[in-house]
């Protein structure tokens, strides 16, 4: 691993931190790197002394909150599987807010609303299709019994309308099916993640 790679991975692992905090931590390690380099240490041995970028980042994330996080200061990053930023205390706190309900539930709620709108639209679409089909049939019967270009034209327009009304129905069904698959997957992922945590 090169120093650049180490710092890239370090920055990526600190993505959960606010920008100034991340810059501060990076500057700290960059300064140490430069100092060690100037003392004659090789890139490899410097990076070895830093340990893995993920562990170094975990130590910083752990100590980010002044209260709570600090209490675990003495422990090493390796001995703490809960170092994962996804299940740190900050995240646990964030779950309290209404905007920060577990993601799966939010997605499910939004999708339920979208599905309701789609269902309403579908009902309208079906009703329109049926009504206009019926009209088209009436005009067809009229044309057959009475003749006349006007009745035929009206029948064709009604048929066109019926097809037009059927289109949203088709798309609604299509996207609802896609949506149901997507939501199921998201909820499944969320449950799996909560179980892991």
């Amino acid at each position: 691993m090169t120093a650049q790679e180490w710092f890239n991975r370090f920055a990526a692992a600190l993505a959960a931190l606010p920008e100034p905090e991340r810059e501060r931590a990076e500057a700290y390690y960059r300064e140490l790197y430069s100092d060690k380099k100037e003392m004659g240490m090789s890139e490899g041995s410097i990076l070895l002394s830093f340990g893995s970028p993920e562990n170094a980042a975990a130590e910083i994330l752990n100590n980010f909150t002044e209260d709570g996080g600090d209490e675990r200061n003495g422990q090493t990053a390796d001995s703490m599987p809960e170092n994962n930023p996804l299940c740190s205390e900050e995240n646990a706190e964030r779950k309290d807010g209404i905007l920060n309900m577990p993601r799966g539930k939010v997605i499910a709620a939004v999708c339920a609303a979208a599905a309701a709108v789609l269902l309403g639209g579908t009902a309208l679409s079906v009703a329109g299709t049926l009504l206009l089909s019926e009209l088209a049939m009436l005009f067809a019967a009229g044309t057959f019994c009475l003749g006349g270009a006007e009745t035929l034209a009206m029948g064709v327009i009604a048929l066109g309308g019926a097809v037009f009304c059927a289109m949203p129905f088709y798309y609604a069904i299509k996207y609802m099916a896609k949506g149901v698959i997507w939501v199921t997957k998201k909820i499944y992922d969320d449950v799996a993640r909560e179980e892991r945590a």
Binding site: E31, S34, D35, S49, F50, N62, N63, E66, N73, G74
Partner: protein, 103 residues
């Protein structure tokens, strides 16, 4: 060493390392390493915490064409250090007791 005990000692060690003159990350680690186990990732939160508590302040100065961050002890830092030093005789008694030496 016990994690909590080490944590308390490291705070004082860092303050002691900058008591005489300002210092920087690499030098603090180099000065403390022979005395107590300390790594880059351990030092960072200590410096941050001590700064937050007003026990030290920082400033950046150009060095070799780059910026280096220096740590300076404050009055509060000196007070903490003096407090620790004043408690040493008491701690020695405790050590004697733990090690079952004759007082």
């Amino acid at each position: 060493m016990d994690a909590q005990l080490k944590k308390g000692l490291l705070d004082v060690c860092v303050l002691a390392a900058i008591e005489q003159e300002e210092s920087y990350g690499y030098k603090i680690i180099a000065d403390l390493s022979p005395v107590i186990e300390i790594s880059e990732s351990t030092l960072y939160p200590i410096l941050k915490r001590l700064e937050g508590a007003g026990a030290l302040t920082t400033y950046s100065r150009a060095f070799n064409g780059r910026l280096r961050k220096y740590y300076l002890i404050t009055g509060e830092g000196r007070r903490r250090l003096a407090e620790f030093k004043a408690a040493v005789p008491q701690m020695e008694k405790v050590m004697d007791f733990i090690l079952r030496r004759k007082i």
